[in-house]
Subunit: 270 residues, 6 copies
C-alpha cells in the first residue's frame, strides 16, 4: 500500500467523517475518475495526457488508503445491543446515535462509496469537458477543496495514526494544487487555451458592451471597490468598468397557449 492507514483506536464517528474524503463530491473517487476520464478523452498525445493518467492512477491508491482507514476505524464499532451501557457512557451514546447505520447494517463495518452524510457518490462529480484549461481549473478547485476538507478533519481528532495518514494526503494535495497551477501556466505558454476559456471563441461574436462591465446589484455597495471592477482585466483584452445595468430585453410576451397540452391561456377578465 502506498502509505499506512493505521489508527491508534477505533472511532466510528471519525469513520463517518472520513467518508467525505473517500466518496464525497471532492473526494478521491471524484478526482480519480475525473483525471482518468480527462486523460482517456485527451485528444493530444504527450505530456498533458500522461500527466492526467499519472495522477489519476495515483488517486486510485488514495481510495485504497482511505478504504482501509475507514475499515480500521470501524473495528469494534458498537453494532450490538448496548442500551444499558449507553446510559452510563455519553461517548458511547454519541457513537450509537451518531455513527452511519449503513456502516454496520449494509457494509458490515466496511467503507461505502458515499459521503459523510451518507449520500452515494454521483457520476456527475467526475468532470471531463474535453477542454484542458477548463478541466485543469476544475482540478485545482478539487485539490483545494480536498485539502481544505482533509485539514478540517485533521483538526477534529487527536488520533496520531489518523493524523499521520491525513498529513500524507494533505502533502499530496499540496503537490497536486501546485502541479495543476503549473500545468495551467504551461497550457497558456503552449497556447493550448487561455482566458477566457475557450480562447478561440471569436471575440467579435460576443456581445462586447457587456464583456467587461461590473454591475452592482445587491444592497452592499463595496463590490465596486475591487480590482475586478476597475483597471485592466486579467485576459489583457479589456478594461473593467462599473455600470448600472438597464433592462435590455423587453418584458417578454409569453408564447401563445398550447390548447392540446391543456396549458390554459385564454385570458380571463383581468
Amino acid at each position: 500500500m502506498q502509505f499506512q492507514a493505521q489508527p491508534d483506536r477505533p472511532d466510528p464517528l471519525l469513520a463517518k467523517k472520513v467518508q467525505e474524503l473517500l466518496g464525497g463530491q471532492w473526494g478521491e473517487i471524484s478526482v480519480s475518475m475525473s483525471y482518468l476520464l480527462q486523460g482517456w478523452s485527451c485528444r493530444m498525445p504527450g505530456k498533458y495526457k500522461d500527466l492526467l493518467l499519472d495522477i489519476g492512477t495515483e488517486e486510485l491508491a488514495h481510495i485504497e488508503i482511505l478504504s482501509t482507514l475507514i475499515a480500521k476505524l470501524l473495528e469494534d464499532a458498537p453494532a450490538g445491543e448496548q442500551e444499558h451501557a449507553m446510559a452510563d457512557d455519553p461517548s458511547l451514546a454519541a457513537v450509537i446515535g451518531g455513527m452511519n447505520p449503513q456502516h454496520a447494517i449494509v457494509a458490515g463495518l466496511g467503507p461505502r462509496a458515499a459521503d459523510s452524510a451518507g449520500n452515494p457518490w454521483s457520476g456527475a462529480f467526475a468532470q471531463a469537458s474535453g477542454n484542458l484549461l477548463a478541466d485543469f481549473r476544475f482540478n485545482v478547485t478539487a485539490e483545494s477543496q480536498g485539502r481544505l476538507q482533509a485539514s478540517r478533519i485533521y483538526k477534529m481528532t487527536d488520533d496520531a495514526g489518523v493524523k499521520e495518514t491525513l498529513s500524507f494526503l494533505i502533502a499530496r494535495d499540496t503537490m497536486h494544487q501546485n502541479m495543476w497551477l503549473a500545468a495551467i501556466q504551461e497550457l497558456e505558454a503552449d497556447m493550448v487555451d487561455g482566458t477566457p476559456v475557450p480562447m478561440d471563441f471569436p471575440q467579435e461574436q460576443e456581445h462586447s458592451p457587456h464583456a467587461y462591465t461590473y454591475w452592482p446589484l445587491s444592497d452592499g455597495g463595496q463590490g465596486v471597490e475591487g480590482p475586478w471592477a476597475n483597471g485592466p482585466a486579467p485576459d489583457g483584452k479589456g478594461e473593467f468598468s462599473v455600470t448600472e445595468p438597464t433592462p435590455e430585453g423587453p418584458v417578454p410576451m409569453p408564447p401563445k397557449p398550447a390548447p392540446h397540452l391543456f396549458a390554459k391561456g385564454t385570458p380571463g377578465p383581468s
Copy 2:
C-alpha cells in the same frame, strides 16, 4: 428583462440543449445558488461579500432569460399526434424522437430545473465552502465550463435570435471569468488565503517528503517533462522533483472479524 430572449423560430431540440445552461451542473441555477450561499456565509463584511451577492443576483436574471428562451423555443412543439407527417419529414421525425418528452408532458412546453439529458438539478452543485479562495477557484471553473458550453451550443444553431442571447451570456461569462481571476489576485494580495489552500495549515504538519514530488504511474512517460515535475512550485515554498514511489505502508492486515455482523472471517483452508 435583463436581455432579450427571442428566437427566430421554435426548435424543441435546441430547447433541450439549452436546458444544460439553465439546470445543468454548470448552469445558471448552480452559479446563482453558489454565489448567494457563498455571500450569505461570508464571515468578512465588505468587498468580497458584496461581490458575491452582486453577481449571485445577476445570475438570477440569467435564469429568467434562459427560462424565457426555452419556453419560446418550445412554442408549437409537435406534442400532438403526427405519425403520418413524420413519415414524410425527417426533421420533424428527429424532433418527435429527440425532444425531451417532459417538456410537453410534465411542463406544458415550459422550462425544467434539469439538464439537457433530463437529470434534475442537484443541490450538490451549489458550492460554498467557507473558504474564499477555494470557492473563487470553483467560480472560475464554473464560469469557464459555463462559457465553454454556451459557446458549443452557439455553434450548433444558426438561429440569429438565439445566437444574440447566447452572445450576451458568453460576454457575461467573459466578464465573470476575468472578475473571479482578479478577485483571486486580490485575495492573495490581501493575504486572505494562498497556495496551497488553506494556506494556514501548518507546513510542519504535512508529510513533507511528498509535498513536491511527481510520481510517474501510468504507461506514458512524458508526464515528467512538464514544469509541474521540475523547477520551483507556484506556491514559492518548494521545488518539484520526480521520484518513483515505493509502498510506504505495509500490506494492510485486515481488522478482525465482527461475528455479530455476520462478516464471516474464520480463515478457510487456504
Copy 3:
C-alpha cells in the same frame, strides 16, 4: 387485470412517454406509495384510514396496467441492427434515435421504474406527513397533475387501444380528484384540521402583522388586483391587505470566523 392494456400496434416512442405515468414524479408508483404510507401511518382508525388504503390498493392495479401497456408498446421495437432500413424510413429513424435505450438494453423490452426522461423514481415522491389535510391537498395535486399528464399523452397518439386505456385512467383521476376534494370538506367538517394547516398552531404565536399582507415584489403591477390581496381571507380569520415590505431585519453581521475550519476571516484592507 383491472382494465385492458392492448395497443393497436407497437410504438416505442409512446412507451417512453407512458413511463411518465408509471414512474414519474406524479405517476402511479408515487400515488400508490403515498396513499399506502399515509394509510399505514394514520393514527385515527376509521373512514379516513380505510379511504387511504382502498385507493392505495387501487393504484397498485394501475401500476400493473401501465406496466403491461408499456411491454406491449415495446413489442418488436427495433433493437437490432437496422442502419440501412433507417436511411429510407424517417419514422423508423425517429424511433431508433428516440426510444429509451434502457428499454432494450437493460429491461429487454419491459417497463422501468422510471419517468419519460429515464430518471429513476425517487422515494422522495412518496408523501406522508402525518397531517391528513396537508396530505389530502397533496393528493388532489397529484391527481390533478396525473390527469393532466394522461390527457396530454392522450392527445399525442391516435392508437385507439392506448386511448381506451388512458380514458379509463383519466376517469379514475376524475373520481380521485373529486374524492379527495370531498374528503377535504369532510376533514374540515369533522374539525380534524383546517386552513391554515396546521390549524392548531396557536395564532398568537405567529408574527401576526405579516399573516395577511400581500407584498408586490416583482416588476409586474397587477398582482395586487386579485382577491388574494384584498378582502377576507379564506380561513375566515383575517383580511388581506397590500403593503410595501420594509426590511425588518438588520443587515446581518456575519458570525465570527472559525479558524480551525480554515474559514478565513481576517479582514483585508477593504
Copy 4:
C-alpha cells in the same frame, strides 16, 4: 434583510433541522423555484403571472433568512477534537454525534442546499406544469407542508430568537396558504380551469362508467362511509356511488419473446 435571524445561542442540532425548511422537498428553494418557473412559463399576462413572480421573489428573501439563521446556529459548533469533554457532557456528545458533518467539513459552518437528512435539493421539487390550477393546488400543498414543518420545529426549541424568525415564516405561510386558496377561487371564477383538472378534456372521451365510482379494495370497510362515496361530486358533474370492481381486462397475454434481446421465452415443460 427582510426579517431578523438571530438565535439566542448556537445549536448545531437545530441548524441541521432548519435545513429542512431551506433545502428540503417543501422548503424555500422549492417554492421559490416553483413560483418563478410557473411565472416565467405563464402564457397569460396579468394578475396571475404577476402574483407568481411577486411571491417567487419574496421566497428568495426567505432563503436568505434561513441561510443566515443556519450560519448563526452553527457558530462555535464543536468541530475540533473534544473527546475528553464529550465524556463528561451528554449534550455535547449528542451534538458531536448528531450534527451534520458536512456543515463542518464541506461548508465551514455554513448552510447547504440540502435537507435535514443531508440529501441535496433536487430540481424535481420545482413544479411548473403549464396548467395554473394544477400548479396552484401544488402551491397550497407546498405552503401547508411548509407551515407544518416550521410549526414542528418551532415546538422543538426554546430559543426565543429562533422562535421569532419561525413565527415570521409561519405567518407568511398563513398568508400564502390563504392567498393560493383565494387564487384558486379566482381561477375558477375566471373560468381558467376547474375540477377535474384539466377541465377542457372532453367528458365524452373519458371512460365514464368509472368516473364517479368508489371501490372498496382494502380490508377496512369504513371507506364507503364518507361523502366521497355517496352524494354529489364536487365538480357538479356526477354522483358518487360504490361498486365492487370486477376485472375488466383479460389476463394479459405476454408479448412474444424477443430472441435478439435474449429475453428467453421458449416455454419450458411446465
Copy 5:
C-alpha cells in the same frame, strides 16, 4: 396484517435502522417492485410468471409490517424541546442527536420511503431484465443481502417484540433464498437459460482465447490458487487456466480534435 409488529417500547434510533429493511437498496420496496415488474414483463405464462407475482404480492405485505413497526418505534419520540433533560440522560441525548430528523419534521413520526441514512429509495433498485436467469440470480442476491441485514439488526436490539417481527422476516428470507435457488435449478432443467447468461449468445462469437483464463493483476499472489483458476469451469464448456495478460490493444490514438466544440487539440511544443 400478515404478522405482528408490536415493539415492547419506542426506540427512534432503531426506527431509523429499520428503514434500511423498508426503503434501502435491498429492502422490501426493492424486492416487491422487482418481482412484480419481472412478473408483469415475463413473456412466458405459467409457473415462473405466477411464482414472481405470488412473491411480489407477499413482499407488499412486508412493506406494511415494517411501516407499522417503524410508526410504533417512533411513538413518543422526543420531538419537543428537551435541552435540559438531555443534559442528564445520555441515552436521551443519543436519541435526540441520532434520530432521523425527517421522521419528526417531515413524516410526523411515520415511516419514509428511504434507507437508514435517509437516502430516498431509487427506482434503479428495481431490477427486471427480461432474462429470467439473470433476474433469479438477482433475487437470490437480494434475499441474501436482505436476510443479512435483518440478522444484523436482530443483534442490535433486545426488544423482544421487534425480535419477533424480525424473526418472521428472516424466516421468509430463508424460504425465499431457498426458493429462488430451486427456481434456478428448474430454469436450467427446463433449458430456459444457463451458464453463462445468456446461454444463447453464440459461443463462436466470443473472443474465445479469453473466455476461461484467470489473470493475476494485484499484488497478492494467492488468487491463482482457487478452483476458479484451475480445472473445469461450472458451465461445462471450458477449462480454467492462468495467464499473464499482455496488452492486446495498441496504445489508443486519440480521435482528431473537434474545433467547433472547443476541444483544443493543436499539439503544443511537447
Copy 6:
C-alpha cells in the same frame, strides 16, 4: 491497452448505448468499485481477498477500453448546425435527435460516468457487504446482467470493430460468471458461509413455521407447481410445502397521536 477499441466508423447513437456498459448500474464502474471495496474490506487474507483485487483491477482496464471506444464512436458527431442536411437524411436526423446532448455540450465528445439514459452513476451501485457469499452472489448477478447487456448491444450493430471489442468483453464476462460460481462452491466447501446467508444466524431464532412454506398470493395458480413449493429445500435443512397464509398479526392499532407534531388524531364523528 488491454484490448483494442477501434470502431469501423463513428456512430453517436451507439456511443450513447455503450454508456450503459461503462456507467450503468451493471457496468464496469460498478463491478470495478464493488470488487475493490469487497477486497479492501475482506477480513480474511488469502485467496478470496486476492481474487477480488485481481478482478477489480482487471475491470479498471475495461473502463479504459469502453471510454476509448465511446470517444472514437463520437468522433465527427454532428454537433454543429446542420438543419438543412437533416431534412434530406433521416439517419442524420435520427442522430441529431437521438444522441446524448451532454456528449457534445458537456464532454466535448468524450465519455461520461453515466448510463445510456444519461443518469449519472451512483455509489449505491457499488456493493460490499462484508459477507463474502452475499457479495459473490451479487458478483454473479452483475456479470450475468453485464454479459446480457453487452450481448444485446452486440446484436444492435454491424460495426465489426465494435463487435470485436464487445466479443472480448463478453468472453471476460463468461470467465467471470464461471469464476464467481466456482468461488461460491469453494466458499461453501471451505465452510465460510452457506445457504441461507448468513448461515450462522441461529435456526432456532427464526420463526420456523414460515421458513419453508410457499404462499400462493396472486391470481395465477401455477406457482405451486415448481420444485420451490414441494420437496427438499436447497439448504438441506427443510422441506417445502404450500399453505394458504392467514393473517397472524392483529389489525394494527395506530399509535396515539403526537399533538406537538400536529399529526392530528382527535377522532372525528366517524
